[in-house]
Symmetry: none
Subunit: 423 residues, 2 copies
């Protein structure tokens, strides 16, 4: 089956936002074994959207459209698709009910909000459409079928689109596919993309079925192994030796062989399994490491205290960093990172503590301590491990990389085995 992607919206067309939806959906199509030949971006313009969709439906079996399902007059994807496929719009009582419920919730948050007439537009669906409830927004997803062609309409915000695709569209499309495609992810941290690429160059050159595709993420490299076959069992048999080979090559740098498992989940799982508690002391990351840990449901069991000690005063007052350290070595120093980690572990009585202090820029860099310099400390058992990093890029990029490497460092330290603190 041939699939095609259309992103609708002036925001993407004019470059106000980067089209991450298409990258996500393209990857998912590959997982489903769908061939993908074209992606198009078009603005909120009826005539041009209709022309693009018509072309797409001619040359592809499944067209996935994102965006343009909102309540405003600009949002025309549903209207254009319904018209093109000759399906009249009708109000869906179930969708209207959900919409009213949600709008009342919104109203509760803010007395200024009103349920507008526009909102009700979102309860209209093309006749015969499969309506996909959207738990994260007001616009439902829609699957329209006519004459062997399928149009899938999804809302544009990734926070709404991705769950809808994952939970509803993916299983629906999977059923339509005759061949089975199975893939497994191997997630690596602590090694750069180019080194990973070099170490698996031979495997990639020799690949046919299964294939290996590397994806670089911040502080991580993901390798997707994808097999095609007549049955799930056949696919698994093809994938197994490749995963084994990768485990041999990357060993403990592999933190997950599970599609969904994030680095923070791997860390929280390790803490939970070992019944350990964690505390964090962050300066330049400003809470970003804590925020990633708290991303994991149930993190409260293991993560007890977090400090964002952005000022020197807070580093001294709450973590007991010495005045002399800040004076002679500065806040961005190995000594400060060590004292932050130790102080954090002391006041929080946690089993392991991690500290991050660095210079995210854009200003303040010197020759000795350029922007991007980050020190981390990790206190556990009877020691404090410290590491120095040099990241590059914008302030946001440096902080994002620091947070990812902080999680990798935590994992590394826990690999050693941690003795629970005697409380």
């Amino acid at each position: 089956m041939v699939a095609e992607l259309i992103s609708v919206g002036t925001e993407i067309l004019l470059g106000n936002i980067v089209n991450t939806n298409s990258a996500y959906l393209a990857e998912q199509c590959a997982l489903l074994g769908l061939s993908l030949y074209y992606q198009t971006v078009v603005g909120d313009n009826e005539e041009r959207l209709a022309a693009v969709l018509e072309t797409a439906l001619e040359r592809s079996d499944v067209v996935i459209l994102t965006g343009g399902l909102g309540p405003t007059e600009d949002d025309i994807t549903k209207e254009v698709a319904a018209k093109l496929l000759g399906l009249p719009l009708e109000e869906d009582p179930h969708t209207r009910e959900l919409l009213e419920k949600r709008m009342k919730q919104y109203k509760g948050n803010n007395a200024q909000r009103r349920i507008t007439k526009n909102n009700y537009k979102q309860a209209l669906v093309p006749k015969g459409a499969l309506v996909l409830d959207n738990p994260n927004g007001t616009a439902p997803g829609l699957i329209l079928e006519k004459k062997g062609k399928t149009a899938v309409l999804l809302p544009g915000p990734p926070g709404e689109m991705i769950p809808l695709f994952k939970d509803e569209v993916f299983p629906w499309l999977r059923k339509k596919q005759p061949e089975i495609i199975l893939s497994q992810m191997v997630k690596i941290c602590g090694i750069g993309e180019s080194q990973v690429a070099e170490e698996i160059g031979d495997l990639i050159r020799a690949q046919s079925n299964p294939t290996i595709a590397p994806y670089a993420k911040t502080g991580e490299v993901h390798l997707r192994i994808t097999a095609r076959g007549g049955s799930e069992k056949e696919c698994r048999k093809l994938i197994k030796p490749v995963v084994r080979e990768l485990k041999e090559r990357f060993g403990k740098n592999i933190f997950a062989t599970d599609e969904k498992k994030t680095l923070e989940e791997a860390v929280v799982d390790m803490l939970r399994d070992q019944k350990l508690t964690l505390s964090l002391a962050e300066s330049c990351t400003g809470g970003a490491v804590a925020a990633r840990i708290v991303n994991v449901p149930g993190a409260s069991e293991v993560f007890t205290h977090g400090f964002v000690t952005y000022s020197n005063r807070a580093k001294r007052k709450f973590l007991g960093v010495k005045k002399s350290t800040l004076k002679t070595c500065g806040a961005v120093s190995e000594k400060c990172a060590r004292e932050m980690a130790r102080g954090c572990r002391f006041v929080s009585k946690s089993d392991i503590s991690l500290s991050v202090t660095g210079l995210a820029g854009p200003d303040g860099g010197t020759k000795e301590c350029p922007v991007g310099t980050v020190f981390m400390g990790c206190s556990y058992n009877d020691k404090i491990v410290a590491q120095e990093f040099h990241f590059s890029g914008s302030r946001a990029r440096i902080r994002e990389q620091a947070a990812a490497h902080a999680l990798a460092l935590l994992r590394d330290c826990m690999m050693e085995g941690i003795t629970k603190k005697d409380k």
Copy 2:
């Protein structure tokens, strides 16, 4: 003039990399006043690329292609464009010279590299093309013109494409454009997208020049006003009354009229202007509010202390939340939010303190306190303001919305005017 973008390459098509080139080029086209109606992604396939390019040249004046200029057999953009425009390929001596020089350099870095026959393919250029030297790679940029249509060919890697565009293509296109385009952003918080859309429905329906386009962000709505005219002055004159009208309609909900200013920047600016210090006590957001504040360069001047008090013990120990409050009202309560805010302000001696406590789920919800319930407290002057929110969506979405609304609440409180604490 109408422009169009084509990204060539299987890597983007299959989602292995995100298409940041198109976002960059789209924004540049807007700056140049070029109308942009379509972006297409197509793989390294001769037939499909030729079809896409032909369509693009029919409907647009300038087609900018990125990718597919490398030395491999897969790289076919130049060949396809030359064939379609009827321009034979000829070797360009200057390009060949640069190529040989660069290949020798590469060879120095890596003994395995050889100058292959394929490499010389990059010295071939379509007859009459404007050749743009690429200081960051081996493939030159090319501008081909025929019958009033222009094809701009650029290499795919952003590190090569962006400098080539900025230094060569942008000035070249600017000369071709008679009209100037100017846009201004008006950013709103505290009102939902549909309400904003309704309140400006009349303006949007009546628009021609300037145009108004709304963009929904988490907890924010952005309105872009875009004018075309003979000069910058003329454009500004067209934009000014629209901005004035929007200010009248949305008043203090407008937090920025500057393209780049974020909500956290608006908050940090207010703190800085009023010489106030901020401290944060976060439970369910787990450091996400702090991380947004620290996003702003120079936040250290105003943001002194952050606590991620995810456990009840930490809420009691560091913020002085009463045992009885946690017992009778629970951690997700208005009373707890108030005590967190007060305690946070007390220990940090800051002028304003904000607390967030809520239930991000996915588990733990009850009828009285469903998942998505979030309480915030803000302590300043001689009072503590508290607000209750009900967000929906995934754990990540709930936390993202809570962080955005926390910033809006901070801004709201500061609008009242804050007396500096006597320290």
